[in-house]
């Protein structure tokens, strides 16, 4: 039956002129690419920062004259000062967590793919969509600006715990305008994320084309939808937190600053605030944030796997989706596990520890579904599948670390050791990055109409996979020995024996970083020189593959799309998927 008929009314006409087309564009595809590019730039900035940190940790006396040009105060003569190390650490965390991991899989791919996957011509509120990108962009510029202002970047970590972050210059270097800009930058990011989440929710609910019932949504769309709800509620709490922090710094209030603080014998004027209040409000956002980062990854993996193993997931869309809903809900009731030793009421520690352990159940369900979907499958080892498999392995490893940190008793030993660093790099860091890579290799042909180079892609995967394990598994291990995180040098007697191990980590990290340039080269080269991509190179079954690569301005070239079955519904037994675009729309 004919699935594609002439669309009654074209949603809106393509804009004219370079600016409206590529800069201040309201087209969700352009905005999606803008977000992806922004986070790509941010990712390499963040990686450069981690390189500088790892070099300093391995060879504290190393001279990097180039960096002394970039930051004369931070790196006099090319040797890093302790405070500058902390600044790099702070900005690495901030840029990676917000502008890469939160932006790329959700705002980047989501903006580009969600409307096409539901068969819409654009997001529900295109202008709002443009606004959220440019607000994010300003936020990123502010974050980077902290490196060039005289006060220098903040050094109180991406969590910006007060009073260190709140009392201002008295608390030492990096507490001047750098910290203010940080607060403003994150506040802007909150606003952008809230607008984005709003847009995602309304788009998913209101703009689904005929036949695209909720039960026929691709899992990636489900993930973005669920994630939009989580961000909507989480960022709504981070926004006031940032505002109150800035108010403490610039308005002289004392929300987070208690009485009787003394810096170099000077008594501070503040009184009556509580640092714990900030920690609570921050982690109220901060823990859902971890899942805001990982839920799109769940979606992307569940979306990509069936295509390359040539069969639907076990249990179809339902099980994974309900697991994601459970994870998203539980993610709000566990934030206190970041605060077990922070002076929080020890009874609350129990209240937070139990749900933290129970959140493993839906996560385990999702992992089991992915793993057991491989049983009797028919794998096609293209780069997206490799990265998906890599994601599963990394996510299992990362999740395991959670058992140790979810219990206050064991956490009271492992808290603030490199075990924690390894753990969250595996879970929210590298798992999400691997899913982002998988999505990039999978959707690049659709986004740019060119195929990426498979050989380079596979090389990129192998090196990254080994690199990740050698860096962050080693961090888990040194954590058992009590190696403390956020140290710019190892002066403690018990840290000295770990210096060789840290050298190993540094070398591995440098190589891991270097391999990312293979990816960068592959992306840029293929963008212009890669072979032309067909409409549906992978034989996938969702709507984005039923239109051109890249899609026309209104996504389906003025055609009205009607959907007759879900992405994972086949007649009878699982079988190799159809590779004709009709299959995705009309079924067979």
């Amino acid at each position: 039956m004919a699935a594609i008929s002439a669309r009654a009314a074209v949603h809106h006409l393509p804009p004219q002129g370079f600016i409206r087309k590529y800069v201040f564009s309201v087209d969700h595809k352009v905005i999606g690419i803008q977000y992806t590019t922004l986070s790509l730039v941010a990712a390499f900035v963040g990686m450069a920062l981690s390189w500088a940190m790892r070099i300093h940790l391995a060879w504290p006396e190393a001279r990097i004259p180039l960096l002394s040009l970039l930051s004369p105060n931070g790196m006099p003569g090319g040797v890093m000062t302790p405070e500058y190390y902390l600044s790099l650490m702070t900005m690495h965390g901030t840029i990676m967590a917000f502008f890469v991991l939160t932006a790329a899989p959700m705002a980047g791919y989501g903006n580009f793919m969600l409307p096409i996957q539901v068969g819409a011509a654009d997001m529900a509120f295109p202008r709002l969509n443009m606004a959220s990108f440019w607000v994010t962009f300003v936020g990123f510029v502010l974050a980077c600006a902290t490196f060039i202002i005289p006060d220098g970047p903040p050094l109180s970590g991406w969590t910006a715990y007060p009073p260190l972050s709140a009392v201002g210059p008295a608390a030492g270097p990096g507490q001047g305008w750098g910290q203010n800009l940080w607060g403003l930058s994150i506040a802007l990011f909150c606003v952008a994320s809230l607008l984005g989440a709003l847009n995602f929710i309304v788009t998913t609910l209101e703009l689904r084309t005929k036949g695209m019932t909720l039960s026929r949504l691709p899992i990636s769309a489900w993930a973005w939808f669920i994630n939009a709800w989580v961000s909507l509620l989480a960022f709504a709490v981070l926004l006031p937190t940032c505002l109150l922090l800035v108010l403490d710094r610039l308005g002289g209030t004392s929300f987070f600053i208690p009485a009787g603080l003394v810096f170099n014998d000077q008594l501070q004027a503040h009184a009556g605030g509580s640092p714990l209040l900030f920690q609570h409000l921050f982690w109220f956002f901060g823990h859902p944030e971890v899942y805001i980062i990982i839920l799109p990854a769940f979606g992307i993996i569940s979306h990509i796997l069936p295509t390359f193993i040539c069969k639907p997931l076990v249990g179809g869309w339902k099980v994974v989706t309900f697991a994601m809903i459970a994870v998203g809900t539980l993610s709000f009731v566990v934030w206190g596990h970041h605060m077990f030793v922070s002076g929080m009421s020890p009874f609350m520690a129990m209240v937070f520890s139990v749900p933290t352990l129970f959140i493993t159940i839906p996560s385990v369900i999702a992992v089991l579904i992915w793993v057991f979907s491989l049983y009797r499958s028919n794998m096609r080892f293209q780069t997206p599948l490799l990265f998906s498999l890599g994601f599963i392995s990394l996510f299992i490893t990362g999740g395991i670390g959670g058992f140790f940190l979810a219990q206050p008793s064991t956490d009271s030993y492992l808290h603030a050791t490199t075990f924690v660093v390894g753990h969250f790099h595996f879970t929210m860091g590298l798992s999400a990055i691997f899913a982002t890579f998988a999505g990039f290799y999978y959707w690049f042909p659709k986004m740019f109409g060119r195929m990426l180079n498979e050989k380079l892609g596979k090389l990129h995967f192998w090196l990254s996979f080994v690199g990740v394990y050698s860096v962050f598994m080693t961090m888990h291990l040194t954590g058992f020995a009590g190696a403390v995180r956020r140290y710019s040098a190892f002066v403690d007697d018990f840290m000295v024996p770990l210096i060789p191990t840290n050298r190993f980590i540094s070398v591995a990290a440098l190589l891991l970083g270097a391999t990312q340039f293979i990816f960068l080269f592959n992306a840029i080269w293929s963008r212009f020189k890669g072979p032309k991509a067909p409409d549906n190179p992978w034989g996938a079954t969702t709507l984005e593959w039923a239109t051109g690569s890249p899609p026309p301005f209104d996504n389906f070239g003025g055609r009205q799309v009607t959907v007759y079955h879900g992405p994972m519904e086949y007649d009878g037994e699982a079988r190799v998927m159809q590779t004709s675009p009709e299959a995705s729309v009309a079924g067979t």
Binding site: L233, L277, L281, S345
Partner: protein, 100 residues
């Protein structure tokens, strides 16, 4: 669906008057010199009642699809309930303060 013809304007005026009345009761309660916690509790109950009426009638959720009600209330109350988790530490702050 966006129709609020279920009520006449006069009944809306009545609702407005009722809300104003509740505010009046709040003010009267305030000057009964109740213990702070009792006052806080009763004020919050009355305010929640007002809020509920406002959402159901002024914002006529009552006449929308039930699912709208079941989306906005659980989501918001979930967050507000969880924010109560902060309070044990507030009391801790009062009892364990360093400088008295």
């Amino acid at each position: 669906m966006s129709s609020n013809r279920e009520l006449t304007m006069s009944s809306y005026v009545g609702i407005g008057a009722g809300l104003m009345l509740i505010v009046g009761i709040e003010v009267i309660l305030t000057y009964q010199h109740l213990p702070t916690r009792t006052l806080l509790f009763s004020l919050l109950c009355l305010a929640s009642l007002e809020g509920f009426v406002a959402v159901m009638y002024l914002m006529h959720v009552k006449y929308e699809q039930p699912i709208l009600f079941w989306t906005i209330f659980p989501a918001t109350l979930f967050v507000l309930f969880l924010l109560c988790y902060l309070l044990p530490d507030a009391f801790r702050m009062a009892s364990m303060r360093l400088l008295r």
